[in-house]
């Protein structure tokens, strides 16, 4: 046990730990992409999608299975995986999107758990123990080799010339690609929701019956919204595999969907740039917690992080439901 005064002793090494903060940035980027889907569903369409982590799991597992078991090349596996995830988006949406908000939330969280339990137990599909797939195709050949080649190329040709190379900056290419992807997607989605299509989504969010009365096929729009979110979940899933260098069902527990909701509300509902801000606001303190020497075991620190997420969620929802960049007039949380 450490003395009381030492409990909050801060270790300032963290400022110079480049590889650590690059890792944090990667996680923030991955969950940013993940949350863009939630933003489209919750912030713009009013769909309570609690199963986003299930789509991320399907994207991650299907991409890996396509390469490891089916033998597709890496770059072909990704579009196939995207199609599979979009298909599941339709499959989940078709029966559930007619349900009332609270039923929908229960149904989607149940869907995500079915996916996770299937990954955990279907050895024929995932081939490993407890939902872990061995990413080694054959001796010395790995699932993510094509990416690692690209990463090496980027390090050699882009980052090395400006002095950002070596062990500390090993993951800088991944960080760059993820954040480029996040920014492009956020920009594209921002454009999309300002289109006539996006205006229909917002009309549905505000008043479903009114949108229907105007002759809009509400169900079809909702389905499109959910399916796009599923696709974004798949992209986040691929990057998660590249970051973790493994695929395991514990990364797809329901709590990670709610990391997305914290990001969503931190950054503000109905704002895609808000997602970028929210994910940074969540992950820096969450990971920075590791540098506080609290005299706790690893398990306790993990528990503390999740308590923190829970508390942030409660307090945000109670006191600042519109978040940092959310618009009060579009505050869809309290209708």
């Amino acid at each position: 046990m450490s003395a009381p005064l030492e409990i909050l002793a801060v270790n300032f090494d963290f400022l110079s730990a480049w590889s650590f903060w690059i890792g944090v940035g990667i996680l923030a980027g991955i969950y940013g992409i993940f949350t863009l889907g939630l933003q489209l569903n919750v912030g713009y369409t009013g769909i309570l999608n609690f199963g986003q982590v299930g789509f991320m799991a399907i994207g991650a597992y299907s991409a890996v299975i396509m390469v490891v078991s089916v033998g597709l090349p890496f770059l072909l596996a990704l579009p196939v995986s995207l199609l599979i995830t979009l298909f599941f988006g339709l499959l989940v949406g078709l029966p559930t999107l007619r349900l009332r908000a609270d039923y929908l939330s229960i149904a989607t969280i149940a869907f995500a758990e079915v996916v996770r339990i299937t990954a955990q137990n279907a050895r024929g599909l995932t081939g490993g123990n407890q939902g872990t797939i061995n990413l080694e195709l054959e001796e010395g050949k790995f699932f993510s080799d094509p990416w690692l080649d690209a990463s090496d190329w980027m390090t050699a040709n882009i980052f090395d010339p400006i002095g950002l190379s070596g062990q500390d900056f090993l993951n800088l290419p991944l960080l760059t690609v993820i954040w480029l992807c996040l920014i492009v997607l956020a920009f594209g989605l921002s454009r999309l929701v300002r289109s006539p299509w996006g205006r229909v989504l917002r009309a549905i969010r505000e008043d479903e019956d009114a949108a229907r009365a105007l002759g809009k096929n509400v169900f079809s729009y909702k389905l499109q919204s959910l399916t796009i979110a599923a696709g974004l979940g798949a992209v986040a899933g691929w990057f998660l595999v590249l970051q973790l260098q493994s695929v395991n069902q514990t990364a797809f527990e329901p709590i990670f969907t709610f990391f997305g909701y914290v990001i969503l509300i931190l950054g503000g509902l109905a704002s895609f740039p808000g997602v970028l801000l929210g994910t940074v606001l969540l992950w820096i303190p969450l990971e920075g917690l590791r540098f506080l020497d609290l005299g706790l075991s690893g398990g306790q620190v993990a528990a503390l992080r999740f308590i923190l997420v829970g508390l942030i969620l409660i307090l945000l929802v109670a006191f600042r439901p519109q978040g940092a960049l959310g618009k009060k007039e579009e505050m869809v949380l309290s209708d």
């Binding site: 229960i106 149940a110 079915v114 709610f258 528990a303 503390l304 829970g310």
Partner: protein
């Protein structure tokens, strides 16, 4: 079940349209028929002995599912609150019992009673600190749901922070079994079933016949109407939380005792099964939740005849999803509930 209006003829003979109408009028009967068909299939597949044993196991699980589900459905019915933290109230119950029985060395029954009281108090506390102020602010569905989810994580990981994620065991006899006509049930599990059913009966009687129970059901049915008839809604709301918390605490202790070991994940893994029970019985309907809990418990155990036990939780989720798709107002719910 309401009497009358049931055509006694075979529905299949009178055309698909009338059969469908009959089915939607009598969902409980259709459901029983489906369960019966599944039972017949399982008897043919693996014998009546196996099915009977699984049904006994399922009834044990069903008794604590039912206890958990009643609290969940009442809070939903009375407050329109989908409480995702309800599962973690069960976890809290199990760990409080652990603290008082194993760490403090108190008798099991005393620890159980302390656990019931403390979880009930905790539930009331969440109402006073979180949900009542939020209702005053006219919080929306998403706001309230997200708060319960935040609360769920705080409870679950606070327990993990103090008690670690290691498996804990209550000091109960988990090896003795009672055998009769080739079937067996654990001694502790038998006690769990008996306690569970006594409490369930008492709660059902209370809801049905006592003035408090009638007022609670009136609120669950139509809050505003109940309020205008002069029911003291504030009092009933608090009592709903007391009952919900107490039943959750009891259910948590009973799960911990009958399963043997538990971790801080206990309640969250049960939560979706509880939701399945609640939706099956018609959300807000206490008697439905009771029946739904038993059905989910039995269905989960039956499924282990056909596929591995590791899938049984997923089976209840599938039941949940199917019920929501086919009949979101539940097997016992009336059409108008939605």
């Amino acid at each position: 079940m309401e009497a009358g209006t049931v055509p006694t003829g075979a529905p299949a003979a009178s055309g698909t349209k009338r059969a469908r109408a009959w089915a939607s009028e009598n969902p409980a009967k259709v459901f029983l028929m489906v369960m019966g068909l599944i039972a017949i299939y399982l008897i043919i597949d693996s014998g009546i002995q196996e099915l009977a044993q699984k049904t006994i196991n399922g009834t044990v699980a069903g008794s604590y599912f039912a206890l958990g589900a009643i609290g969940l459905t009442l809070v939903y019915g009375v407050l329109q609150l989908t409480n995702f933290a309800h599962g973690d109230l069960l976890t809290l119950g199990a760990y409080i019992a652990y603290v008082f029985q194993v760490s403090q060395g108190m008798p099991f029954v005393v620890a159980m009673v302390i656990s019931i009281v403390l979880v009930a108090l905790f539930a009331v506390l969440t109402e006073l600190v979180m949900f009542k102020p939020m209702r005053k602010k006219k919080a929306g569905v998403l706001q309230l749901i997200l708060m319960t989810i935040g609360l769920a994580f705080v409870i679950r990981y606070a327990i993990q922070l103090f008690a670690t994620a290691d498996q804990k065991k209550l000091d109960v006899n988990v090896t003795d079994t009672i055998d009769f006509i080739g079937l067996s049930i654990g001694r502790t599990q038998l006690i769990v079933v008996i306690v569970g059913f006594v409490v369930l009966t008492a709660v059902a009687m209370m809801l049905r016949y006592s003035s408090l129970g009638r007022q609670m059901r009136a609120l669950a049915d139509n809050f505003d109407l109940a309020e205008t008839t002069g029911i003291d809604t504030g009092r009933i709301v608090i009592f709903t939380w007391v009952l919900s918390g107490a039943l959750a605490g009891l259910a948590g202790v009973l799960v911990a005792a009958s399963v043997g070991s538990f971790t801080p994940d206990l309640g969250f893994t049960l939560l979706l099964s509880l939701f399945a029970a609640v939706c099956l019985g018609g959300i807000g309907n206490a008697f439905g939740a009771l029946a739904g809990g038993l059905v989910i418990g039995i269905t989960q155990e039956w499924s282990t005849i056909v596929i591995g036990a590791e899938w049984k939780v997923a089976i209840s989720f599938l039941v949940l999803i199917i019920v929501l798709i086919v009949r979101p107002q539940g097997i016992f719910g009336k059409e108008r509930t939605l």
